[in-house]
Symmetry: C2
Subunit: 239 residues, 2 copies
Amino acid sequence: MLRTIAQAVDGLVVKAVKTWDMFQPGDRVLLGASGGKDSAVLAHDLAMKKAQGRLDADILAVHVRTDLSPDAFSPGLADAYRSWGLPLHTLDVPVIGRLKPGRSMNCYWCSTQRRTELIRYAMDHGYTAVVLGHHLDDVLETLFMNMLRKGELSTMPPVLRYRKYPLRVLRPLYLVEERQIEELATALGIASSTCTCGYNDHSERDRVRERVELLTRGSRAAKLNIVESLRHINAEYLP
Amino acid sequence: MLRTIAQAVDGLVVKAVKTWDMFQPGDRVLLGASGGKDSAVLAHDLAMKKAQGRLDADILAVHVRTDLSPDAFSPGLADAYRSWGLPLHTLDVPVIGRLKPGRSMNCYWCSTQRRTELIRYAMDHGYTAVVLGHHLDDVLETLFMNMLRKGELSTMPPVLRYRKYPLRVLRPLYLVEERQIEELATALGIASSTCTCGYNDHSERDRVRERVELLTRGSRAAKLNIVESLRHINAEYLP
């Protein structure tokens, strides 16, 4: 059971890594470890790859701990990371005081703060890649949020390169569905915590996610075809 | 009632014509008149524009009559075209015998045959533009059919130019919703016929159309934002 789902997820990670040429030999990789199941499953997959000699990279997992949700990373999950041979570093970042007057707290702002800190840490410490646990359903949700609300065709890219810094941001779970991640997390016995900040409001994202499920009828092939379509843009047949 | 919906539709046609710079002064326009409500509403709008001096073009409506559905253009609709001052020409094209052995008849094939004949007629007779009655919901339906099934980002373009011929194919109803067309057709008292060929199977397109309605929740703003997104492609944030 564990083996089957772990192999299915790994196959999709291998495909994404190849398709977008994600890793370079000798990479120094910093993994954003939120305390949730997505980054935990990614950590497990990369640790297995490294243990099996399929990934030539140093990996450090970094958890950005905020004053909004100081218990987001459970002790049990820290044990799991340890058992996979992954060192885990905690970075304390107070974000509450950063909020500008009159602005209300929200997940988008908070996650941007945490990602910025992660990338700054990576740059300061000579890392060459930051890996994040965003998955296929995140990618499609962001795509359709941007299409429906902003009138822009864009989403999270699988690889983002900085012009001025020798650092890439990678999303190896780009082709993995959330339900596969949930299945693997359960098989691994991962008890992931959820954010308890109290500002958590995913209602709009959840609505878009439901509608993406209706559009694709939950078909993985249809979801992967949407990603394919973003790589095969026929400009002559667009407005 | 008629005035309100006719003005709403006309406003969206004006916007599409401006956005994609559709017409040139002195154009010789051939309108594909299927016998349905979409091309009838387009015929009415262009005829009004011409009568009011807002469109400098000669317009001929051409109905391609096939042996599959010889009664697709009703006498009542022919009267309506006449009352709008639009000359109507009927082109007889037998398509049944063209089907290659072993291939089954379908709407896509038949409509391609009819469009090809229309374009050939336009070229042979010195027309500069062929206008077709496809609307916003057709555009989105084709977009999502291509994304979900073919893994390609493409749809019907508002303007298609031929490299070798001085002819454009235009879709002035690009920004008009089907329900607006239905409302205007009803207000105009248009009794449009439906195809009676017996091979009619729109079930797959209908399913996709339903799902596009779920994705957009039937919101015109959301539908128009999808069209906008196809004009604002942020390549750095795509896979």
